[in-house]
């Protein structure tokens, strides 16, 4: 009861945010939500299924470019977002087939190389992606369902609400996934591949499902980007961008549900604070990573409810 109340009050707070927060705060909150979705998907692979991917940005980019191309041709927000997620889903499914046959280091390096292939594709294929200039002039298209509603999106507040609703739905869906039998299977695979296989479960298939879902969450986060920024450029596919959900999740807590969300929030807030005092925020972030890996592998969330563990 108390938990539900706390979550509900948080949600109400988020809905009321535009009333007392400035435009830049809204802009940052949207980015935090995008990183949360990105990190949730990443953590499904890492925290729940035991696969460390350094190439999730490739699927983020697939979602972003997919949505952008659609909006440039057919300016309807829902079509763009859903289209972007679909593109990312297809990409992660196909690449997943190739990746999940390997584990651990090889898996990580394979995802790294695929992510970078998408990056170089985005950079070189000027006709399709605009090259290093990227796609520009992407409209913040209206949200319309023919015959039902048509909401103009030119104000940041309206778009904020769209992102908020999408995020809440996605988080709710994620909660259902990890608490379902499928979610338990993922964790079983993470803890002991052999035992899970012995029970008759196709480890590969479940890994592929996990990979695809993770890719779609990355794609959703990516698809919500173009209407916000009106531009999509290749760095969103770079491996250094893949590192963001990794860091956010590590910061928040790998083994928990809210970890990636908490981590995404902390990541932005920390950076914002540190940057006010010094331009050298990378070294601070690096130091935080060291502290976390050495002592707090369960992240910030674990600090709240007991030490994360030894590993």
């Amino acid at each position: 009861m108390k938990k539900t109340l706390a979550i509900l009050s948080l949600i109400v707070l988020l809905f009321l945010l535009p009333l007392f927060a400035g435009k830049y705060i809204l802009y940052m909150t949207i980015h935090i939500m995008l990183l949360s979705l990105f990190s949730l998907g990443f953590n499904l692979l890492f925290g729940y299924t035991g696969l460390l991917s350094f190439g999730q940005a490739g699927f983020y980019a697939a979602g972003a470019y997919g949505c952008a191309k659609i909006l440039l041709a057919f300016p309807s927000l829902l079509v763009g977002i859903i289209g972007g997620v679909a593109v990312a889903g297809v990409a992660s499914f196909l690449l997943g087939i190739l990746c999940i046959r390997h584990t651990r280091i090889y898996f990580s390096m394979l995802t790294l190389s695929f992510g970078m292939m998408i990056f170089s594709l985005a950079w070189k294929w000027r006709d399709m992606t605009g090259g290093d200039d990227g796609l520009v002039g992407i409209p913040r298209a209206p949200l319309e369902i023919p015959g039902l509603i048509r909401l103009n999106m030119t104000s940041m507040e309206n778009y904020y609400y769209v992102v908020l609703v999408f995020s809440l739905l996605a988080i709710f869906l994620f909660h259902r996934i990890v608490h379902s039998p499928m979610g338990l299977t993922f964790q079983g695979i993470r803890d002991s591949e052999t035992r899970t296989a012995c029970v008759g479960i196709s480890v590969r298939n479940y890994r592929l499902i996990s990979f695809t879902i993770a890719g779609m969450y990355a794609g959703l986060a990516g698809a919500l980007l173009p209407p916000l920024e009106s531009t999509v450029t290749p760095p969103v596919a770079h491996w250094s961008y893949s590192a963001e959900p990794v860091l956010a999740t590590l910061l928040g807590g790998i083994y928990t549900f809210p970890g990636p969300i908490v981590g995404a929030f902390l990541f932005y807030v920390l950076k914002d604070i540190i940057v006010r005092f010094t331009q050298y925020w990378l070294i601070c972030l690096g130091a935080i990573v060291l502290v976390l890996v050495l002592g707090f592998r369960g992240g910030v969330v674990s600090i709240f409810y007991g030490k994360g563990g030894q590993g």
Partner: protein, 444 residues
């Protein structure tokens, strides 16, 4: 990995509380900041006796401050700071002092956009300037109408910024102080069309927008004057190329008479050095280093120039060179800059310095800080700057001014080489493109 955590109710509660408190905190921060949700003008103090209504005029800039190209950000800071100090010493603009905030664009368009939003909507900048990379400028441009601020671009050189975004799409908040790729492409064609023995050209170019547009425009222009010219080889070097030996070897295999090159800053120096090592300057007749007139490159190749290694074959230009024009204003600027920073100013310094003064002129003309007023003041403005007389043409908000090209030589008056031999000064209006702008085919 054998750790598994049950999500206890208390744990979840605590995590949610943390997020909630953080959310409230950031919301409250928004309230505490002097910029509420309806922002038409940036942070305004209570009305005082100041003519413009604010104590402090805020100027936000951005450029590259780390990596192989970091000197350009440094120069932007140096130039703009000098201008601001000079203006503040004389009482500011109409009584209000100037304050600068400069951020790192990291050569990433997404970061440039984020900086732009932060500077304008959060920090309260009245005026924006800077931006090194062409890709970043194309991303920042479309955001300006939404935040209602002018950005005076002082480096990014893609023609598309002014030709497409201003002239075609009407983004009036974009102004450019620095000469675009017309300089390295068209000026170099006009110089080399008069060398009948140079028929075979090869290019070593940046593998991004800047390189593509420069090479395409150079080829298109030179071909018009010299149909006999051939473009025999091209090598593309991406960001973070450390070693150009393969690129140089590849183009030299085609036996070119001359080479046209865009890699700039630290990469430019190493490119030239490796070219020297590969004996290139024994074989070719000329090498045109597009932004070779920039101070960091001149410093880097000083020893080699002094020893005559380039055999007088190295040509260059820039977006301003400190030895041109020979006016009292320019001499004073260079002297003051050297006194303040102990270095010679390069073009991003002069451009940023002039950007601040252009802003000052516009504000003094309209006695207002409103973007729409400033746009009207800047359009068609003629202003004397260290780099010469500049005219902001209304059709695309591009500043028109002359910058020469020439051979890189040693000069006793300066501690580093200069672009000074066979200096060719061609009136800008003779080589700047005009509307109607036909798109440049950027095939590889």
């Amino acid at each position: 990995m054998s750790e598994r955590k049950k999500i206890s109710r208390r744990a979840f509660l605590k995590a949610a509380a943390a997020v909630g408190i953080g959310g409230i905190a950031s919301g409250l921060r928004g309230v505490a900041e002097a910029a509420p949700q309806k922002e038409k003008a940036p942070a305004k103090a209570k009305p005082k006796k100041k003519i413009l209504g604010v104590d402090v005029i805020k100027i936000g800039g951005q450029g590259v401050t780390s990596g192989a190209h970091a000197d350009y950000g440094w120069q932007m800071i140096a130039g703009s700071t000098l201008a601001i100090e000079e203006i503040n010493a004389k009482g500011g603009i109409l009584g209000s002092k100037l304050e600068l905030k400069f951020m790192d664009e990291e050569l990433k368009p997404a970061v440039a956009v984020k900086n732009t939003r932060y500077l304008a909507t959060e920090w309260g900048a009245h005026f924006l300037f800077g931006v090194d990379s062409s890709g970043s400028s194309m991303a920042v441009g479309p955001v300006l109408p939404e935040i209602d601020r002018i950005c005076m671009f002082t480096h990014a050189s893609t023609h598309r910024l002014t030709e497409e975004l201003v002239a075609a799409k009407g983004v009036k908040q974009i102004f450019r102080m620095s000469v675009p790729v017309y300089q390295e492409s068209i000026l170099s064609s006009l110089i080399f069309k008069d060398f009948p023995n140079i028929k075979r050209w090869a290019g070593i170019h940046c593998d991004y927008e800047y390189g593509y547009s420069t090479w395409a425009l150079f080829k298109e222009t030179l071909k018009k004057y010299r149909p006999d010219v051939e473009f025999v080889a091209i090598a593309w070097a991406p960001f973070w190329t450390m070693d150009f030996s393969s690129h140089i070897a590849a183009v030299m295999a085609a036996n070119p008479d001359a080479i046209h090159a865009t890699p700039w800053a630290g990469e430019g120096v190493m490119l030239l050095r490796q070219a020297l090592m590969l004996g290139v300057f024994d074989k070719i007749q000329a090498w045109f280093q597009c932004m070779g007139g920039s101070v960091d490159i001149l410093e880097g190749i000083a020893n080699e120039v002094a020893a005559g290694k380039f055999k007088d074959k190295l040509w260059a230009t820039a977006r301003y060179i400190h030895n041109y024009p020979d006016t009292p204003q320019n001499k004073a600027f260079v002297a003051n800059f050297r006194k303040r920073w102990n270095r010679l100013p390069n073009y991003s310094a002069e451009n940023s310095y002039s950007a601040i003064y252009a802003f000052k002129a516009a504000v003094e003309k309209t006695r207002s800080l409103k973007t729409s007023d400033l746009i009207k003041a800047l359009e068609g403005m003629e202003i004397m700057t260290p780099g010469g007389k500049r005219f902001f043409r209304p059709e695309d908000h591009q500043a028109v001014y002359n910058v020469p090209g020439g051979r890189v030589i040693k000069d006793p008056n300066y501690p580093i080489p200069i672009v000074g031999g066979d200096l060719k000064v061609i009136p800008a209006k003779d080589y700047y493109r005009h509307p109607p702008f036909t798109p440049i085919a950027m095939g590889k």
